[in-house]
């Protein structure tokens, strides 16, 4: 609402709706997300939170409505690499260590100048487990092994599907810290969660999903 006309919103949805076999999954949905903004996607089970994130990531086809990316009609290729998607499936190879998994992700997506991979793994709380095959880690540690991408990979928009699941209290605080830092440097994020979450930076934007 207060977004200056000079800078279009990073992401804008107008009357976005999705159908599965002609059954409405969600929508029509309108929202804007500016740089530096973190929004919480709320809704009951089956309200289409995951579907929304998958559409925004470019994994699903936009069926109805309009999506704009940096003020222009949304195109998958235009936003590739500028978006980081973290879904239910963590995208980790069980036979590889956290360090090796991270190296593959950095090879595909590129990486920030700092922190280095070792530093990132330490900060995410996997010190001492870097070279353990991921399948031997606990559920929370696996989640951290996936979340470490947030530290290392360059992306403006984070799409995080249930990032708090399986995490302990320090883990949740860690994610909140990452989000705050991301917002401070101009990044944006859409986060789904059905648990009550308090952000460090006070009340977040909320997007309510309804079928």
């Amino acid at each position: 609402m207060t977004a200056s006309p000079a800078r279009p919103a990073l992401l804008e949805a107008r009357a976005l709706a999705f159908y599965r076999q002609d059954e409405p999954v969600f929508g029509p949905l309108d929202f804007q997300l500016a740089e530096g903004e973190i929004a919480l996607v709320e809704g009951d089970n089956g309200s289409g939170k995951t579907t929304l994130l998958r559409i925004l990531a470019g994994l699903l086809h936009v069926e109805e409505g309009e999506l704009r990316w940096r003020g222009e009609a949304w195109q998958r290729d235009a936003q590739l690499g500028d978006v980081l998607f973290l879904g239910h499936h963590l995208g980790l190879k069980g036979d590889l260590s956290a360090r090796e998994n991270l190296a593959v992700a950095a090879g595909l997506y590129g990486r920030r100048d700092e922190p280095g991979p070792a530093d990132a793994l330490r900060r995410i709380g996997l010190a001492g487990y870097e070279d353990e095959p991921v399948r031997r880690l606990s559920a929370g540690q696996k989640k951290r092994a996936a979340l470490v991408r947030l530290l290392l990979l360059p992306a403006t928009l984070w799409l995080l599907d249930e990032p708090y699941a399986n995490l302990d209290r320090t883990g949740i605080e860690l994610v909140n810290g990452l989000l705050a830092q991301h917002a401070a440097r101009g990044g944006a994020a859409l986060v789904t969660s059905h648990g009550a979450v308090s952000f460090l930076g006070g009340e977040p934007r909320r997007i309510r999903m309804h079928a």
Binding site: R20, A57, G58, L59, L60, H61, L80, G81, D82, V83, F85, G87, H88, H89, L90, G91, L92, K93, G94, D95, L96, E100, A103, V104, A105, A106, G107, L108, Y109, G110, R111, R112, D113, P154
Partner: protein, 228 residues
């Protein structure tokens, strides 16, 4: 904070798939073992008469290798789909077709190459004349990547389904008919002392075409199959 170089991405993916295959070395051995078993069964079924085995050796080795590859084909993307790695790959700022080509290459190295290595052994067990052996290997070197590439398109199409073993065989059969015909044709021509270059050239031409087109088709198929 720039786009990662293409070569680094290709190398990272190829390295990942090869390391993964190496950590599960047992799985690499399975198709080889399977081919060995199938080839061993033929003399039992047809009798050990050398002239007969000699006549069928080339075709049997080719079909055996094809079946063994089919067995391993299903696994090309399944692991990546189950753990979400494929989503990450699709969303990476890299040309998907090229990334898939790397995966197909890794798959060919880990399944077809071992089969080619033991092919002379299988052919020897079936008394294939030594003169035809180089032609058999050449035919396999051209036919197996072709099968990997064609198979990858089909595997990508079945990516959204649960189990696809039989379906994959049904879908692959029409596509591999020409491959089998030309590969076996070359071997049997060499065995009869006839010129065998023409069928091998056809295989080579088909491979060149598939190298360019199949990864693109595979990427398109994957996008269709995942869009749900």
């Amino acid at each position: 904070m720039s786009r990662p170089p293409l070569a680094a991405a290709c190398a990272a993916l190829l390295r990942r798939d090869l390391v993964l295959a190496w950590r599960r070395r047992g799985d690499i051995a399975m198709p080889v073992l399977y081919a060995l078993i199938v080839a061993t069964l033929f003399p039992f079924a047809l009798g050990p008469e050398e002239a007969l085995l000699q006549r069928i050796a080339g075709g049997v080795v080719l079909v055996t290798v094809l079946l063994a590859m089919l067995l391993a084909l299903d696994a090309m993307f399944r692991g990546d789909i189950e753990d979400g790695s494929l989503e990450q790959l699709v969303l990476a700022p890299q040309p998907l077709a090229l990334m898939l080509a790397m995966k197909i290459l890794a798959h060919w190295i880990t399944t077809a190459l071992p089969l080619i290595v033991i092919a002379p052994l299988l052919a020897g067990m079936l008394h294939l004349p030594g003169a035809a052996m180089p032609v058999l290997l050449l035919a396999l070197l051209l036919a197996t990547p072709l099968l990997s590439l064609l198979g990858a398109i089909l595997v990508a199409l079945t990516a959204g389904t649960r189990r696809s073993g039989m379906l994959l065989a049904l879908m692959l059969l029409p596509l591999c008919v020409p491959v089998v015909i030309f590969a076996a044709g070359a071997v049997s021509a060499a065995q009869q002392g006839l010129p065998w270059l023409a069928p091998v050239a056809w295989l080579g031409a088909a491979l060149a075409l598939a190298l360019v087109l199949a990864p693109l088709a595979c990427a398109a198929a994957l996008r269709i199959a995942l869009d749900a």
